[in-house]
């Protein structure tokens, strides 16, 4: 299978998945206990006013009509209006999404900065003390949920050492320093939790490259260890690492739902929780859909990278 065919097939799969995702988001919020009209008007609403609103919102139409209507609206960028905020859902999400992105990107950066050097260092000192301690460090990182690392980081760096604020968000355009100091702890906590996989991949990829013929040749030619490792080996070893980083980004994005609650970070994660708590159905639908979409697309991008760099995936087919 050529690369084009592969991409084509994957795009096809994604279209199908996308359909299922909209179906799930729609279904979940439509089997919710509690009628939207009742939620809007409150328990004291009269039968008549309920019926009027149901007609107005189109809630008494068949479900498939409502679904098609909803999807058509989505395609036009119309996600409905939030019951709680009285604002368009799309606008609420557009306002908070960049903040979550900022957090996920920063966390991935932290993870890369920590894990790639650590992985290289571990590979060069295979099975020796630095290797073992690097593995331990990474293992500790994945042994607790991200939100717990968040709390531990708050306890140590904000409460005990008083180095950073405990949470909150400031727009970088208003106060860059204040914004960055509030980013350090959540990004650090999540980055730490993501370190393990990238480090493991860097380590094993480096080990593989370091055992290649041309590395021995470079050694025989008398090149220094530093030049061999950094200039020759790392360049070739980094390719599979990049794909793992792409997967970790989507993982980070999936994790922001919980992390934002810990750090009072007003992104799409907290918006989702607020929507759930106030049973704001259009907002729940919108949030679920947007988060799933971004998660899906970044996984898709990672898959493509993976296939691009590793021809075995393509030529071996799906089996």
């Amino acid at each position: 299978m050529s690369m084009y065919n592969y991409v084509f097939r994957r795009v096809g799969f994604m279209a199908v998945t996308l359909f299922f995702v909209t179906l799930i988001a729609f279904a979940v919020t439509n089997i919710l206990p509690g009628d939207v009209a009742l939620l809007i008007l409150g328990p004291n609403a009269t039968e008549q006013s309920l019926e009027a609103l149901q007609t107005q919102l189109g809630l008494n139409r068949p479900l498939y009509v409502q679904y098609i209507d909803w999807v058509v609206g989505l395609l036009q960028g119309n996600m409905g209006e939030s019951l709680r905020f009285g604002e368009p859902v799309a606008q609420l999400i557009a306002e908070r999404l960049p903040r979550s992105m900022m957090l996920a990107v920063a966390a991935t950066l932290v993870a890369v900065v920590l894990s790639v050097p650590l992985g290289v260092y571990a590979a060069v000192n295979q099975n020796e003390a630095p290797d073992v301690s690097a593995s331990m460090f990474a293992f500790v990182g994945i042994s607790m949920p991200i939100f717990l690392w968040g709390l531990v980081f708050i306890l140590v760096f904000a409460v005990w050492l008083n180095l950073f604020p405990t949470g909150g968000y400031v727009s970088p355009s208003e106060d860059l320093v204040g914004s960055l100091t509030r980013l350090v702890l959540p990004a650090g906590a999540m980055g730490f939790a993501l370190t393990a996989y990238i480090m493991r991949m860097t380590r094993s990829s480096m080990l593989e490259v370091l055992s290649e013929e041309y590395i021995n040749l470079a050694r025989a030619k008398g090149m220094s260890q530093r030049v061999i490792v950094l200039r020759h080996a790392l360049k070739n070893a980094i390719i599979p690492v990049i794909t793992v980083i792409a997967f970790q980004f989507s993982y980070a994005f999936g994790g922001v739902v919980v992390l934002e609650e810990v750090f009072f970070w007003p992104g799409i994660g907290r918006l989702t929780l607020t929507a759930i708590q106030s049973r704001d159905i259009p907002l729940i639908q919108g949030c679920i859909l947007v988060v799933a979409l971004i998660y899906m697309f970044s996984n898709f991008a990672a898959d493509l990278l993976y296939a691009y760099f590793d021809p075995r995936i393509r030529y071996g087919g799906d089996d």
Binding site: F13, I24, F139, M144, V159, V258, N299
Partner: protein
């Protein structure tokens, strides 16, 4: 006659080789430090959960306002919480919740995921496409978000957490089982079964299935740790176990409000989660080393 004899002999060799395989597995498992360490932690956890009412020195809901927010001491090894409840007792009893959710959710995911995966892998074609695309759709959601969404529908309750997480982890098990079944499909014993005229369902469930168990077990034990983490996250968000249940995630949620004055309220349940997760992770990793000859060859 000749064929029957051959089949008899064939069956005998299978059982013999199976016995050998089990013996080799036990030997390799016992010499694998990671697997043994993980196994010990898991066994210890299970024992703590079983004997929790005997181990816990105080009832989990015994409030004592005079003793509230006490630092760890001889009477209260993990200190007391904001209502004067003994944290050690609550952490010990909380192991039951974590293991209930972890094992419960993954048993459910294994039951459904394994069948879906093996059937998809063995049948191939359209059946495979349809089943796996549905699994893909479920995997398109971040796990915690999907569980959260399902809990909105089902209602925040512990048994619903088990159902939601079983649903979330089913596709992961299905994927692994499918690729295992794909590999088995072309094996000689399947061809032999087809030649014997056995029905598809018999081949799938009594021949292919048992040979796909190893990767399912590895994935399952790794997923138990994910499910334990997820339960903690969901209870932390207020959508999982409800007070006064001693869920570790819930205890952390309460403890976060007392971080400055009583950090032990947060630290001990956190430590418990860490230990449980490390245990199942090590067991899963170790099992993979032991069961997968490829990994062994690389290392």
């Amino acid at each position: 006659m000749a064929t029957e004899q051959e089949t008899e002999r064939g069956r005998f060799t299978i059982t013999q080789s199976q016995r050998d395989r089990i013996a080799r597995f036990v030997r390799k498992f016992r010499s694998n430090t990671k697997a043994m360490l993980g196994f010990s932690i898991v066994v210890l956890l299970v024992l703590v959960a079983i004997f929790a009412p005997i181990i816990a020195p105080y009832p989990i809901d015994a409030t004592n306002i005079e003793d509230r927010s006490q630092a760890p001491s001889v009477e209260h090894p993990f200190g007391t919480d904001d209502l004067g409840r003994d944290i050690f007792s609550r952490v010990v009893m909380g192991s039951r919740i974590s293991l209930y959710v972890g094992f419960g959710a993954i048993s459910g995911a294994l039951a459904v995921g394994a069948v879906v995966g093996v059937v998809a892998g063995y049948a191939g074609g359209l059946t495979d496409e349809i089943l796996m695309r549905v699994m893909d759709a479920a995997m398109a959601f971040p796990p915690v978000l999907l569980a959260l969404t399902l809990l909105v529908v089902l209602g925040p309750e512990l048994s619903n957490v088990v159902i939601a997480l079983a649903f979330v982890y089913t596709p992961y098990i299905a994927r692994v089982s499918r690729s295992a079944a794909l590999a088995e499909r072309n094996e000689a014993y399947v061809e032999a079964a087809v030649a014997r005229g056995e029905s598809d369902s018999r081949i799938v469930f009594s021949e292919v299935f048992p040979n796909c168990m190893a990767p399912m077990l590895v994935q399952g034990s790794l997923n138990v740790s994910f499910a334990i983490l997820a339960e903690a996250s969901l209870s932390f968000l207020g959508l999982g176990a409800q007070p006064p249940r001693p869920s570790w995630g819930l205890m952390i949620n309460t403890g976060r409000g007392f971080m400055e004055t009583a950090p032990w309220m947060l630290l001990f349940p956190a430590l418990a989660i860490g230990i449980a997760v490390v245990g199942f992770n090590m067991l899963g990793d170790g099992l993979r080393d032991v069961l997968d000859p490829k990994v062994e060859a690389i290392e």
